[in-house]
């Protein structure tokens, strides 16, 4: 929250991306804590739309991000790791079946989306070779 409110633009964008990456596992833990499997739908939609939100920022703020591309690889990987750990923990807790499939889909979406979004933020929208060329 502090990262989004203050500091240069690139730090805010990374903080926004982190907020969705951390929010989804919290929702999963809540679903497990309240013993309500139907709350996983909320986590699924967040896993789906979070990275899309970050892509929106990356896409439309491409120019501003080009000047000083965000360098937050360590933080992103740590968040992705934490999310993976939570998803695995919750999977272990639930018995296999439809719920497990939904959980795996959520986890895959979340981690994939998070990595792609952070790369989009870091490298900006133009394709990689143009950046080096």
């Amino acid at each position: 929250m502090w990262g989004v409110a203050t500091g240069p633009l690139r730090r805010r964008a990374v903080a926004q991306n982190l907020s969705t990456t951390l929010g989804c596992p919290v929702l999963l833990l809540l679903a497990q804590g309240y013993d309500r499997p139907s709350y996983v739908d909320v986590a699924l939609v967040l896993a789906l739309l979070g990275p899309i939100g970050t892509l929106v920022f990356a896409r439309l703020l491409a120019e501003d991000l080009d000047e000083d591309p965000p360098r937050a690889q360590a933080l992103t990987w740590a968040a992705a790791g934490f999310a993976a750990a939570v998803v695995l923990a919750v999977c272990v807790a639930t018995e296999p079946g439809r719920a497990m499939v939904k959980l795996l889909v959520t986890g895959a979406l979340l981690i994939g989306g998070n990595l792609v979004a952070s790369r989009a933020l870091a490298r900006g929208m133009p394709t990689a070779e143009e950046r080096h060329g």
Binding site: Y39, L44, V45, L48, L49, P51, I52, L55, E63, G112
Partner: protein, 254 residues
């Protein structure tokens, strides 16, 4: 009037209202209290009509007239935006340059698009069972469509969603909701009455009489409305240029 006078009036009005509201908050029944008569009645009625998700039952069965009003607000807001953002005579459409997008992002967009559409439809279909419903599912489906704009470029998006079709879709699904309501009157019972169809068995896809139908109508209406809304905003931001200005349209082609 000057900023200082405005700040004075603002602080005076604000503090007066704040005092009133804070005192009222202390008079409110305690947070988490046990006294919810309307809520308990609503749960009883929804279970009687075998709708698993009580919120959907309240939305589409008990207080369906409110949802009719909210749907009409949505419909008129989108119609208003279409009218307000129309292309006036002194503007012309400039074709946006195709944008290049990083390969991983493009792959991610193309993979996530079907999943997102599927999730949207799932949320609409299971509206009267698990958390979700027409409103949420519609927005998710509409956002999924715009992944193409984020993944690819604007022309790809325009190719797969002809705006005119969605405007007609928006209007038709709104009238579908109204016709479902009128069916109640024609059949002799009241407007938006849910007594025509059987309530089916509990916790199945077809339970709850007219609730799934109204849910589907709202879902389609919200999806089309969101697509039309974003289409209008994208047109303004990407395509429509001031013909009056001489400056070139800048490098930021999308």
């Amino acid at each position: 009037m000057s900023r200082r006078v405005r700040l004075w009036i603002l602080s005076a009005g604000g503090t007066g209202l704040a005092v009133l509201l804070v005192v009222a908050c202390f008079q409110l029944p305690g947070f988490g209290g046990d006294q919810h008569p309307y809520g308990d009645r609503a749960v009883r009625e929804s279970l009687a009509r075998r709708t698993a998700n009580t919120v959907a039952s309240v939305n589409f069965d008990q207080r369906a007239f409110d949802t009719l009003g909210e749907m009409t607000i949505l419909f008129s807001a989108v119609l208003g935006t279409v009218v307000l953002l129309r292309q006036t005579r002194d503007e012309h459409r400039a074709k946006p340059a195709p944008a290049q997008v990083a390969v991983p992002v493009r792959r991610y967009a193309l993979v996530t698009l079907p999943v997102a559409l599927l999730t949207g439809l799932y949320v609409i279909a299971h509206g009267q069972l698990s958390p979700g419903g027409g409103f949420q599912g519609g927005v998710v489906a509409a956002t999924a469509l715009h992944l193409l704009y984020l993944g690819a470029d604007y022309r790809a998006l325009e190719w797969i969603r002809p705006v005119g079709l969605y405007e007609v879709g928006d209007a038709l699904s709104a009238s579908a909701y109204l016709v479902l309501g009128l069916a109640g009157v024609l059949a002799g019972t009241a407007f938006l009455a849910n007594t025509l169809l059987s309530y089916g068995t509990f916790n199945t896809l077809s339970s709850g009489g007219a609730v799934p139908l109204l849910n589907a109508a709202i879902g389609m209406e919200v999806a089309c409305a969101a697509v039309v809304l974003l289409a209008r905003f994208l047109d303004q931001a990407v395509e429509i240029e001031e013909s009056g200005k001489t400056g070139k349209t800048g490098k930021s082609g999308e």
